[in-house]
Amino acid sequence: MSESRGRRVEKGTGDVKAGDVSDVKEWGKKIARMIREEVEGEDEIRIMHLCGTHEDTITRYGIRSLLPENVKLLSGPGCPVCITPDSDLQMVFHLLENRDVILTTFGDMARVPYMGKTLFSFRGERDVRIVYSIFDALEIAKKEGKDVVHFGIGFETTMPSTALAVLDDVENFYVFSSHRYFIPAMDYLLSLGEARIDAFINPGHVSTIVGVKAYEEITEKYRVPQVIAGFEPNDVLLAVLMLVKAVKKLRAGEETELLMNEYTRAVTYEGNVRAQKVMDEVFGRDDWEWRGLGLVPSSGAPISEKYSEHDAFKVFEDVFEDFTPEEDPRKRACRCGEVLRGLVTPRDCPLFMKSCTPRDPVGPCMVSFEGTCSIWAKYGEYSF
């Protein structure tokens, strides 16, 4: 195990050699020490990660506490359930109230409250089923013959599976696409400038699909350092080390590599080209709203015209004719949106661990196991 750690460190920084430390913990300490040395006297460096699983690693292993004061790790909009706006959920509720369909979705989404209700709470009066994979939803459609609507959420990691399901062309199977492209959100956050992001830790498994190449547009446009990182504590620490080095060089006006891949064991330059093709075939692009971010240009993934017979928006068009989005007053004090933009931490929210807990969540950041609030609650990051 230490050998491969060493290999990766060598690849990442060029000045830590393989095999000189045998223990994983020692590696972690060594990388943390190198980060501290690197940033001594440096102005604050703000690094945003974009994945709930990264937040889990960071919080579980107390990585923030290993870093010096002037290196800040922010969590970004890396939780698909969290960034799905209430209006999407409200539309699905509306569909369920007006049509007798079987609705399938992933577990976390079914627990997000809107106006005091969740998809779970529809069970009993409506047929709502939790699936592990969209393929299970397809099987239900084939076996039961009734109309099945899959509430599809997720970034590019999940979108190819939805695309394949659509391409299977099962007559009574429809997708309510709430899928969103991830990179437009990075672009949008940088264009807002409010979180003062100096560098990004990019998500490992989104990158498995889109490849390193997909981030080149961000590099070209903003010259912000990015590292695609794996999910172990040393992956994250190593990514931080690579990023602080790059930020320092940039600030000094020196040449530096801006787009780096630490997760070489799963991510290639091209990514999964076949998955990209099926995604392009089935989905279009549109300006869609994200919770916390508002309207993000080119971030929405509607089912394209060619496959509209499987698009729940189109097929059940008449249901949505009288639809008006309404704000849920229960969420007025919820700061999930600002948590997703990296502006505040869960601790800054007046509801956190008071009226909003994992057992009785108010906002989706506390519902999803990838939500920052839920992760901080789980590991007790609230005793201060």
């Binding site: 195990m1 491969s4 994945c51 709930g52 699983t53 889990d56 579980r60 890396g78 939780c79 698909p80 359930v81 992933f106 976390d108 592990y132 994979s133 969209i134 393929f135 299970d136 959420i153 997720g154 970034f155 990691t157 999940t158 190819p160 599976s161 394949l164 998500p203 490992g204 498994h205 989104v206 498995t208 699909i209 794996g230 999910f231 172990e232 064991r265 799963a266 999964n272 076949r274 998955a275 099926v278 999803s368 990838e370 789980k378």
Partner: protein, 72 residues
């Protein structure tokens, strides 16, 4: 949501394969990948194999996920 779990392909019946996740077997779709064979290690996300990985790398990821699951 975006987590992918590594497993070993034990039987291929295109576009499906039975994948062994440390003893637990599940049918997954493999048509997002080229040329998946028995014995290959794949990363699986929501029932779809999204990437082939080396055995050693699969084991590393597996060990880490185990820590996440059991040592909370």
């Amino acid at each position: 949501m975006c987590l992918a779990v590594p497993g070993r392909v034990v039987e291929v019946e295109y576009p499906f394969a039975v994948v062994d996740f440390k003893g637990a077997r599940r049918k997954v779709r493999i048509d997002l990948l080229d040329d998946v064979k028995e014995g290959d290690y794949v990363l699986v996300h929501v029932g779809f194999a999204i990437q082939k990985v080396e055995k050693s790398e699969a084991e590393e990821i597996e060990n880490f996920l185990e820590q996440l699951a059991f040592k909370a």
